[in-house]
């Protein structure tokens, strides 16, 4: 019973991290059709930011200042990456160059982390004490990740329905050509979307740093699990991402408890293949109308 509670609680916490990656995918994908393979390593970079800025006994006040700083820093980094990614799409007929450019950026980040920090995972301290939930001690960052995921979801909802920029971004998601025709500056908004996705993963990495694996080869784990969460929820749906993230997180925790950590990703992979075979549009996704 205790085990089940731990699996559920920590699984949902871990799932919130996946959900945050999935939400950051959605933001970029909705505005440009691009899925940024570097998003996982960007999350790890958010964790690294925590590693470098949070001292041995981090204070709550400095943590509260550093959180927006992490979001802003990675918003800028991702906007830069977005600019690079969108460059070849300007003229080229090769519309899938983003697969390569984003993967290349991901590989470069992973390699730089490896050279700078070595192959071992880094530990980050949280300023918040762990707390008791349903009788189990739960590290605070799990709760932080859940709160952050909900907060980003709400913020994005407000942004997309209440602000002009957000509405214009939704317009791109609906119909790129029409958006361009009414004078929306598509390229600029796409770079904004990259920036927002950076703020999401930057803050997520910082908040979840104490419970994350911060190492050169963990970016790929987060990007794949984040994608799986997005696919389960239905690519583009943020509410779906929350549910999908929780499902993947719990399944992954269960696999770790039941079979051992090496099987976490194998279980995620099985879920991914299962979802793609049975319901490729995801739980909350709609099949896009076919245009002939």
């Amino acid at each position: 019973m205790d085990e089940l509670i731990i699996i559920l609680v920590r699984g949902i916490g871990l799932g919130a991290v996946y959900a945050l990656v999935a939400i950051s995918f959605n933001v970029v994908h909705n505005s440009s059709g691009i899925l940024n393979f570097a998003q996982g390593n960007m999350l790890v970079l958010g964790g690294l930011f925590g590693f470098f800025t949070l001292t041995q006994e981090p204070g709550v006040a400095s943590w509260l200042v550093l959180l927006p700083a992490a979001a802003l820093l990675y918003a800028a980094v991702l906007a830069g990456q977005g600019w690079i990614t969108l460059l070849p799409l300007r003229s080229s007929v090769e519309q899938h160059s983003w697969l390569i450019t984003t993967l290349a950026v991901s590989v470069i980040i992973g390699a730089v982390i490896l050279i700078a920090q070595g192959p071992f995972a880094l530990n980050v301290k949280s300023p918040f004490p762990s707390f008791a939930l349903l009788g189990t001690r739960t590290p605070a960052p799990y709760a932080g990740a859940v709160l952050l995921a909900l907060a980003w979801c709400a913020a994005l909802h407000w942004f997309h329905t209440r602000t002009t920029t957000g509405l214009a971004m939704s317009a791109i998601a609906q119909d790129l050509e029409a958006a361009r025709a009414v004078g929306i500056r598509v390229r600029r908004l796409q770079i904004y979307a990259f920036g927002i996705s950076g703020a999401i993963v930057g803050s997520a990495g910082f908040v979840a740093a104490p419970v994350m694996s911060i190492s050169a080869d963990s970016g790929i784990i987060y990007v794949v699990n984040g994608f799986i969460a997005a696919v389960i929820g239905g690519l583009g749906s943020n509410a779906g991402a929350l549910v999908g993230g929780a499902l993947v997180g719990v399944a992954s925790m269960w696999a770790a408890f039941e079979f051992g950590g090496q099987f976490q990703n194998a279980v995620s992979l099985a879920i991914l293949i299962g979802v793609l075979m049975l319901r490729p549009q995801g739980l909350f996704g709609r099949t896009a109308a076919r245009r002939v």
Binding site: L99, I100, T101, V107, I108, I115, N265, A266, I273
Partner: protein
């Protein structure tokens, strides 16, 4: 490539073997990406699965070597199936993530099942017999690896000349076109994954004698990414691209920076990123394009009506008697969200007749065509072709009944030559396109004006041998003279070849000139139906097309 093996230098002969294996894998990756349009970040896992299975079978299970090699190939194919299965349903980046996670999970599982794999300690398996020189320092192994690399290249070149190869490229460029030509795009994608797994598996088998040692760290996700990037660096889709790509990504860092293993990954990333930004067509591709621009005189080849008439062929048998209904639609209803596209439309098309479908934009013409070809499903009503109910049938099955269609935006493929664009139609009938302008064999349709692209698609659908042709605005963009010619072509198809034609067209003169019967649609309902002369005086039809009918 061949020279270093002769030196007998151990380091070089090892590198030579490995590079040849990597070239073979990269060639198949190239086929997968460029021909089938499939992104796989997991070919390293397929490669490793073959090698590791040989190692496990031969050492820990103690099977004979031939059996071990067979099992290894089977393992690679099984993994290929794992990729091919989701490929039936989805494509593009979805598969990118599936394969990426397989590449990630594979070495983890090797460690997790250490009872069977020896875990991180790896498996040692040496096959000295393959290293014994036959003559002049040439070993059986070096022959095998060259054979594999050359075989992969030749196989890739050959595949492009086959029906399957063409179909892969069509499925990658336009799944709808694939369906309209009677085959499942998912099937073509899966076949590509399977072929890639076969070749990659063979390379993985040879990895065992080449290296003599298997460890999980040799098959990390970086290996898969290396294969993928070498295709990009060399030039996506260029036959020789992978060779150059592997050389640059493997040899250069290995020879120049042997001590800086950690920096190799940065090198991969930077080179791939730089190439994508500076030469999106890859190195070989950029050179090829430059050469092509220099030698090509644009606007050379033409797809004129004459050639379409000629290639349409003469009647080889007497057309079946005209008249009997071949297409029947009863009270068809179809809505998209709030929009009712078809609101109880009925339609009967007689065999060997031309049936015009006209109406203003949004009247439901194209929707009806989509229903007839299976791209749209009716909410209510019945539809049958040749007496077979097709309301629930997939588009590729309907196409195999002998229904061909063109699209409003022509599905013409710039990756194929003009002749190949016709050949993919002839493939349906199992015939060869021999009797065409030789220029069609070398030139691609990217220089053709829009009207000629439409004609090319019409020609393709004629060559499928389908007896029901659904044409969606085939005459758009033709000049007045060409329209008269086009009308002649349609009559020829009907009278000499006995085709049944459903024609959606905005040019009312053309429709009234060739159609045997006409259905006029407006906002999803039939407002008039009959022979051209009967309905030309209809007040409602006149109101719809004021000033356009001068009959």
């Amino acid at each position: 490539m061949l020279v270093p093996a002769l030196f007998g230098n151990l380091y070089w002969s090892h590198t030579f073997h490995l590079v040849n294996l990597y070239v073979a894998v990269a060639v198949l990756q190239n086929m997968l990406l460029a021909d089938a349009g499939q992104v796989s970040f997991g070919q390293g896992a397929v490669f490793g699965a073959a090698g590791y299975t040989v190692g496990i079978a031969a050492t820990l299970l103690g099977t004979s070597l031939p059996l071990a090699f067979l099992l290894g190939l089977a393992a690679a194919l099984a993994l290929g199936c794992l990729f091919a299965l989701p490929a039936l349903r989805v494509q593009g980046y979805y598969l990118g993530f599936v394969t990426l996670s397989v590449a990630m999970v594979f070495p983890e599982l090797l460690v997790a099942f250490s009872d069977y794999t020896n875990g991180v300690n790896g498996i040692k398996l040496q096959l000295p017999a393959l290293h014994r020189p036959l003559f002049a320092g040439v070993t059986p192994l070096s022959l095998l690896v060259i054979l594999l690399a050359c075989g992969a290249l030749a196989g890739h070149g050959y595949l492009r000349e086959t029906r399957l190869g063409r179909r892969m490229r069509v499925a990658a460029a336009s799944p709808e076109a694939a369906l309209s030509l009677g085959f499942s795009p998912g099937g073509a994608r899966s076949a590509a994954f399977f072929i890639a797994a076969l070749g990659t598996g063979l390379a993985g088998l040879l990895y065992v004698p080449v290296v003599g040692f298997l460890s999980p760290s040799a098959f990390h996700v970086e290996l898969s990414i290396f294969f993928f990037f070498s295709v990009i660096v060399g030039g996506n889709g260029r036959l020789l691209g992978p060779i150059l790509g592997v050389w640059i990504l493997y040899l250069v860092p290995n020879v120049l920076m042997v001590d800086l293993v950690n920096y190799r990954l940065i090198g991969y990333g930077l080179v791939a990123l730089g190439i994508m930004l500076a030469f999106p067509d890859g190195l070989v591709g950029t050179v090829e394009n430059a050469l092509r621009r220099r030698t090509l005189k644009p606007g050379d080849a033409e797809v004129g009506l004459q050639s379409v008439m000629g290639a349409a062929g003469a009647a080889d048998k007497a057309p079946p008697s005209a008249g009997a209904a071949i297409v029947e639609v009863r009270a068809a209803r179809k809505r998209y969200g709030q929009v009712v596209a078809l609101d109880g439309v009925s339609l009967t098309v007689g065999r060997g007749t031309v049936h015009g479908l006209v109406g203003p934009n949004g009247s439901g013409k194209t929707t009806l065509l989509n229903v007839l070809s299976g791209f749209a499903r009716l909410d209510a009503g019945a539809v049958s072709i040749k007496g077979v109910g097709i309301a629930r049938m997939r588009p590729d099955r309907i196409a195999r009944l002998g229904v061909g269609r063109t699209f409003q935006t022509p599905r013409v493929f710039d990756e194929l030559t003009i002749a190949e664009n016709v050949q993919i139609g002839a493939d349906v009938a199992g015939t060869r396109v021999d009797d065409v302008d030789p220029k069609w064999r070398t030139q691609r349709p990217d220089q053709l004006p829009h009207a000629q692209r439409r004609l090319l698609e019409v020609l393709r659908v004629i060559r499928t041998g389908s007896d029901v042709l659904l044409l969606d605005e085939p005459a758009a963009g033709l000049s007045a003279e060409e329209r008269r010619e086009f009308a002649r072509l349609l009559r020829h198809l009907r009278d000499a070849l006995g085709k049944t034609i459903v024609l959606v067209e905005h040019d009312l003169d053309l429709v009234w000139r060739v159609a045997d019967r006409i259905t006029v649609l407006d906002t999803g309902t039939t407002i008039a139906e009959g022979a051209p002369a009967e309905i030309v005086g209809d007040a409602r039809v006149r109101a719809l097309f004021t000033g356009k009918l001068d009959a």
